[in-house]
Symmetry: C2
Subunit: 302 residues, 2 copies
């Protein structure tokens, strides 16, 4: 554990940032190429895809299991690093040591370990033709356009030919120092949407099940030490983190996600945007917040 934390600012996402460590050298192994998310058809049929077991993280806490889908299409280097650290059991027994209600729950190894040097930031990808992105269809406060790609909320800007993942509730992202290329070990899960962090920290996955357990995590005080939980309180433990692909095939949970580039999902967006139930005696504005749009996800019996 770092001994002399200099916690200066709530902007300081990682502890190591706040400690202003200077001897971190960037990982020089070749960065992996973006890999498309598998579109393998699940047991629920054509409108759904099965999450690949190597992108499915099962993280156990005393409250219950947090299930995460990693996104190698937007952040291949971060996904590779997270998979490697999970497989090395680097997170087992570590804590969610900085949890600020309404902001983020941050966990990880909470130290500098030369085995895991910092990796290059991956905040955006080329937009290309935008195939596969389902546009939301109304304005957004933070991005020129927003929508969904494979169940992930995305922002896009045609002028700069970029797309990126959004800091919506449940987003999994990498903490870092002030220098962009200094993250790689400690992560956070977004509690309330924090869209101003978009394109500044690397989102590389999202919680698909168990956000109610993330919400139970012991909080720190945001006004003390940037929300780092202080003794005698302790952050809740990551009892274990595994990839589903590390389990025997017949023990791998089968999570399926509704495709988002379909008329069926567009109908879901529209029925949230247009509230036609007579319950609404004042017709709400016809708008959806991209972070408030659930993407149906199911654990299908196997």
């Amino acid at each position: 554990m770092l001994k002399h934390l200099v916690l200066t600012s709530a902007l300081c996402i990682s502890l190591t940032a706040c400690a202003q460590e200077a001897d971190k050298k960037l990982d020089v192994t070749p960065k992996p190429e973006p890999t498309p998310i598998s579109a393998e058809i699940g047991m629920k049929g054509e409108g759904w895809r099965k999450i690949s077991p190597e992108n499915l993280v099962l993280m156990d806490t005393k409250y219950g299991q947090i299930v995460i889908e990693l996104n190698p299409e937007f952040a291949p280097g971060h996904v590779k690093r997270f998979q490697d650290m999970v497989k090395a059991r680097a997170y087992n027994g570590q804590e969610f040591y900085r949890v600020i209600d309404g902001f983020v729950a941050q966990g990880g190894i909470n130290t500098i370990d030369k085995k895991w040097p910092p990796i290059e930031i991956e905040v955006e990808q080329p937009l290309g033709d935008g195939t596969n992105i389902q546009l939301l269809g109304n304005d957004d406060l933070f991005a020129p356009e927003v929508g969904f790609q494979n169940g992930f909320a995305v922002g896009l800007d045609r002028e700069i030919d970029k797309k990126w993942l959004l800091h919506c509730p449940g987003a999994l992202a990498m903490a870092r120092d002030s220098d962009p290329n200094t993250g790689g070990t400690d992560f956070y899960i977004v509690l309330d949407a924090q869209r101003y962090l978009d394109r500044n920290l690397t989102v590389f996955g999202r919680v698909i099940s168990g956000m109610q357990y993330v919400q139970k995590l012991q909080r720190g005080d945001k006004d003390i030490a940037s929300g780092v939980i202080q003794a005698p309180q302790k952050g809740d433990q990551i009892i274990s983190a595994k990839l589903a692909s590390e389990l025997e095939p017949n023990e791998q949970p089968n999570y399926e996600v509704m495709h988002t580039d379909t008329p069926a999902f567009m109908n879901k967006i529209n029925s949230k945007r247009v509230q036609s139930d007579p319950f609404f005696f004042n017709t709400p504005p016809q708008v959806v917040d991209v972070c408030d749009m659930d993407v149906p996800t199911e654990l299908v019996d196997f």
Copy 2:
């Protein structure tokens, strides 16, 4: 408890709505007039106000105390009813029986009690000259203009001369049936922002401390019985709910809230809107979500 619930839709905010009870008669006692929120200067000096003890609700759960400020300026009838039910100890021992992660935590008496007939809805008030409202200063997805009045997030529409309280995280609002004038006993606390409910259900207070305990409440399954917690699971209890004014003066906690119609608070908005720290290598859009703006609140020693 109601025996035969017909739970048809997630829109159905109250259980009684879903049960389609028809014999509810509106409370005919005269509706109280809006009462301005006291601007009594607190121990922190002129930039702060002390919350009036009669508008301060202390709600104990096994996780910790939820502290709520009621707003008699926007919803005098709802505040009066809630104060009356609290003083009658109507909520003690009752449950948060419908809790949907990322949506709302609903609690109350979960039955029809002729002692507490439905009250008239209070979703908006005349805007008047809008004195006392600090405008946010940027666009909003759901309202023509938004801002803050006495620490509460508000929407306003000059064309119809109305202002209203927003469904931001921590908002306290009243559940109801399809008919607007059918609420009065069962309330909900907003978890993630639900702005499409604005002007359709009566917001009458907000949680000023203890949202982390609300977030710990036992969840229901949103796909089963509209999120009502099913046996053998049980909703977490409201161990007790009291007004601070019911305590001896020397036992009343002194909560103070920063005034929001001041240059000091406008500076806080602007420093969130303009992220000038070099940490942000991609400058975020200069915009704040009204629901993501904390209003400083402190428990001051007494």
